[in-house]
Symmetry: C2
Subunit: 339 residues, 2 copies
């Protein structure tokens, strides 16, 4: 391929994104300026938070401008280096967006070590989603032996690691996921103590049955109607890291029935902690330790992960739309080119 | 007075308490057993949290049983001591309930030092309400110079100290209170930077005007319709200590319009911290330091407080009912007997 493709924001979604919101542009491969790198995308990560960036809404980040590439992190190969820091053939992780090629400055890249784990892991369990799970549990959740941890979107890349970290800390883990197959995976492959399909009839009662001693940490990774079921189960001093609300990103859905008053009363009466966060706020303090601690556990198979890989950059929009509906199973990646 | 009076729970309120929910009982003055103290109440503290104890609701404490005295803390004089730890004439603070006399074990009393501050301060600025303000700010809020702190029920005993502690930390303080007189008091007597009557028309806009740089700490001390006005103003990393929701205790009112989804999205997008608490969870770690730090500031007038004192135990029910409607102005106390 001698051309560069990129997918740009064609229009802002009203509710769920549609294919019309995306536009594929093709042009010449860019030329790196002095000090820059030209990189070739191998894998692109698709992540729910990007839905927020497609809208103009108060958030922790600027929205994507119409005509700009959709935001996304990639693992890419350096094909031309005009920097002394990288050689051609080096692999890097960088937020270049949905494109086959890009020029970047070295300070916007992070080196990917080839060897102990597959390179795709650097976009999942050892990348942003994994770090999100890690700091959410380490800094906010702080699981203790014997506690009960519930996590939503549990079969996704964040939830999967949340549950495994809780198990490593000696806690009991209940995963909430979107299908029977995902629930089976959580228990049989990842060692969760129990898992519950969020579509289960009388979900509240079923969740209560799986949490006979209440819930000490609810890792809010989904949004939507799970909250009213979890709220009554939260024990005194329970912690609620909030890292994702995918059910709300398309803005039509609510958090179940109106329960703000109940939420605040529960917060007061049970000394609850609710803390929203984004992984980047903890990067400088915790990222190195995360890699040192979790990297070996991934390499030796003690921590497991699942990937859902689609082929070709042009598949990104439909895969992204499906992810917001929960149709992926594992960390969603686009294979853009062969290594 | 040679008899003992006490006010017991006659029935559980449906919504706002009424005088029918209270019953005055008179009987002989109790006789202390070996190791016990007989105390005579001088001042009784009336506090909003007691409304919660009158209902059967999931809370951090057991409800008051029908026929049992209403819960409350007093400053009392030891009139007979069968313990080596106290002498007759000593003053103590204890949770004996709404009564003129009680027998207690010494471990349920805390000695009140007579001298540098009026004894009533031990039920307010140096008592449970003051300690609530102190730990809410010290442990959860953590105000920094230049930040903006908003506090509701600001003219009450908790809110008054919250604002003054924020000023001492170099923050800007906006108080929200229930009358123009209270607002005037906050600015002129306590040194708040601004104050806003919660009945102000277009309250949200008025609050926004008073917080041009947003809000870094909202001390939630009231509940009700203030939250939807504060939420859009909360800055990234804002902290929300939740210590009281008096507007919800009578359960009819809601937190303004349905905004749980907006609340959770704001929590996520702005990395907000919401933490309910009760002062007692921090007592062992922080109470001594609180007295060491705040006691001298009260004694030398650097920290100011206001009291609202009604006369006679029989006034307690109507004063309590009025307090839940915001009719008190300052820490509400009942003077039960002369010192």
């Amino acid at each position: 391929m001698s051309a560069c493709s990129r997918i740009v924001l064609a229009g802002r979604p009203a509710g769920a994104p549609t294919l019309d919101n995306f536009h594929v542009e093709t042009g010449p491969i860019p030329v790196p300026a002095s000090g820059q790198l030209l990189v070739r995308t191998l894998y692109l990560s698709l992540d729910p938070y990007v839905r927020g960036r497609m809208s103009i809404a108060p958030s922790y980040a600027q929205p994507i401008a119409i005509g700009d590439p959709i935001e996304g992190e990639v693992v890419a190969e350096v094909v031309q280096s005009r920097s002394s820091e990288y050689l051609e053939g080096d692999l890097v992780r960088s937020k270049v967006g949905w494109c086959t090629h890009a020029t970047i400055r070295p300070e916007h890249a992070r080196r990917v070590q080839v060897g102990s784990v597959p390179i795709t892991a650097h976009l999942g369990v050892l990348g942003m989603p994994g770090f999100t799970a890690y700091v959410g549990m380490k800094v906010i959740g702080q699981p203790k032996p014997g506690e009960t941890v519930a996590v939503s979107a549990a079969a996704g890349p964040v939830g999967s690691l949340v549950g495994q970290l809780a198990k490593l800390a000696g806690a009991r883990v209940v995963g909430i996921a979107g299908s029977a197959a995902k629930c089976h995976f959580l228990v049989s492959a990842l060692g969760f103590d129990a898992a519950l399909d969020r579509h289960t009839e009388d979900f509240s009662r079923a969740l209560q049955d799986l949490c006979p001693e209440g819930v000490d940490i609810y890792f809010e990774n989904a949004g939507g109607a799970i909250w009213p079921a979890v709220l009554p189960l939260l024990n005194r001093y329970a912690r609620v890291p909030v890292c994702g609300l995918v059910a709300l990103y398309n803005s039509a859905q609510q958090m179940g029935r109106d329960s703000l008053s109940e939420t605040m009363l529960a917060v007061l009466r049970r000394s609850l902690l609710i803390r929203g966060f984004i992984n980047s706020e903890f990067a400088s303090e915790h990222y190195s330790q995360f890699l040192r601690e979790i990297g070996p556990l991934v390499a030796n198979g003690r921590i497991r992960y699942r990937e859902h890989i689609v082929e070709g950059l042009e598949s990104a929009p439909s895969a992204f739309i499906g992810m917001l509906e929960g149709r992926n199973f594992g960390k969603l990646l686009v294979k853009v080119a062969n290594a």
